[in-house]
């Protein structure tokens, strides 16, 4: 299959990403449970080791580096559970990824209302 052209600022979670990110995503999936979130908070390094999260993935977890986590194969749906531990909502994440403050990011969302209502042909 030919690869379609890249989309700016967008990572497609395909097999290539999934292969890189499996350990990271498995750890984040475990955060569905309160007991696991607590265990992570109590001992981040030990918890990461238990799930085989290491190298650039562990580094991105330590730095709370969302773009780094995505680049390392993290999937946004599982990463959202990590963000939950940190008490971050999707607008915090949006701000972090776009280099804006949260207020700027929210204002940018509101400004989307100014878009045209008709699709260019």
């Amino acid at each position: 299959m030919d690869r379609p052209p890249a989309i700016f600022g967008t990572t497609i979670f395909d097999g290539e990403q999934a292969r890189k990110g499996y350990a990271l995503n498995r750890m984040c999936f475990s955060f569905n449970e309160q007991a696991n979130r607590d265990a992570f908070k109590a001992d981040e390094e030990g918890y990461m080791r238990r799930y085989g999260v290491q190298g650039v993935q562990a580094e991105a977890i330590r730095k709370r580096d969302v773009l780094g986590l995505l680049a390392a194969g993290g999937n946004v749906y599982y990463l959202a559970k990590f963000a939950g531990i940190l008490g971050l909502d999707v607008q915090d994440l949006g701000a972090a990824q776009t280099g804006l403050s949260k207020e700027e990011f929210k204002a940018r969302l509101v400004r989307q209302n100014e878009q045209p209502t008709r699709l260019a042909a």
């Binding site: 967008t10 990572t11 979670f13 498995r26 569905n32 999707v90 969302l109 699709l119």
Partner: protein
């Protein structure tokens, strides 16, 4: 035979759950969103569906990458909600419509859809919140959840999801029952949570897509998944649920009500209620 009375579609942002729990429906931020549902509540009071078939996408509650189905059909006596990692209150279980589940499963496999059957299944905010939005006083319908993969690429094409919806519609209308069925699709519209393009919204595309569901329902099937991601964002592809829903409602429809509001959370929030004008089986 069972009758499809119409289709309902809505966005399903987790934050809606918080707003409901805190009773913020009347706040300026939320009012334009929640008010969109009021005419639909009146319509539902009027038509009184018995069963809801719900197209939604799981966000990492019931499915992980170890077993990621393209299409999953619930066949459980009840469906439980659970903690998705944010500790928000979970909703009480939903009653399954087992006869219809198995009838749909039989029909889909017969039509060469290679579904995964789920006799136990946790349902996440994408399933629970829309039912709460449509029936704030308590959900009176039994349910059949149908989950479409939007997590692990490759995703099923818009064309394939449309065909799935058509086959589900056939199954419902050939179900030996006098029940009234509403089809629900949840997700979208344009939004993107991840990457430097986070916050992306495409209003003209969303509005055109909503229009198309009334008059030209196959319109969106012209696009590849890659094109849909480009036009609607990584999570905007959830419009596949809307497409499957419309495909399940046969023939012509009447627009009961629609709403479109930017933003709820990072999302262009859309809502449509379409009544089926085709009464034949």
């Amino acid at each position: 035979m069972a009758r499809i009375i119409g289709g309902l579609t809505t966005s399903h942002v987790p934050a809606i759950g918080g707003a409901i729990a805190k009773g913020l429906q009347g706040e300026p931020y939320w009012k334009p969103f929640f008010d969109g549902f009021l005419p639909v509540h009146r319509w539902l009071d009027d038509v009184q569906p018995d069963v809801a078939v719900v197209f939604y996408n799981d966000h990492g509650l019931n499915f992980f990458l170890d077993k990621m189905p393209t299409f999953a059909v619930g066949a459980a006596p009840e469906y439980r909600n659970a903690d998705e990692g944010w500790g928000i209150p979970t909703l009480p279980p939903f009653r399954g419509e087992l006869d219809l589940s198995w009838h749909v499963i039989e029909h889909l496999v017969d039509r060469e859809f290679d579904i995964t059957t789920c006799q136990e299944m946790l349902v996440d905010h994408a399933f629970t919140l829309p039912l709460k939005l449509f029936w704030p006083q308590g959900v009176p319908v039994t349910v059949v959840p149908i989950c479409i993969n939007t997590v692990q690429f490759p995703l099923p094409s818009a064309r394939r999801c449309y065909a799935l919806g058509q086959a589900v519609g056939e199954a419902i209308r050939s179900w030996e029952s006098d029940k009234k069925v509403v089809v629900i699709g949840t997700g979208g519209l344009s939004h993107q949570l991840d990457g430097e393009r986070a916050g992306f919204i495409n209003k003209p595309f969303d509005l055109k897509f909503m229009d198309s569901l009334v008059e030209d329902p196959e319109w969106a099937t012209q696009y590849s998944i890659h094109e849909l991601v480009e036009k609607t964002g990584t999570q905007g592809v959830e419009l596949l649920m809307w497409l499957a829903t419309r495909a399940a409602v046969p023939g012509r429809v009447r627009k009961v009500h629609t709403n479109y509001h930017i933003p709820i959370s990072n999302t262009a929030a859309g809502m449509m209620a379409l009544e089926s004008l085709t009464q034949a089986a």
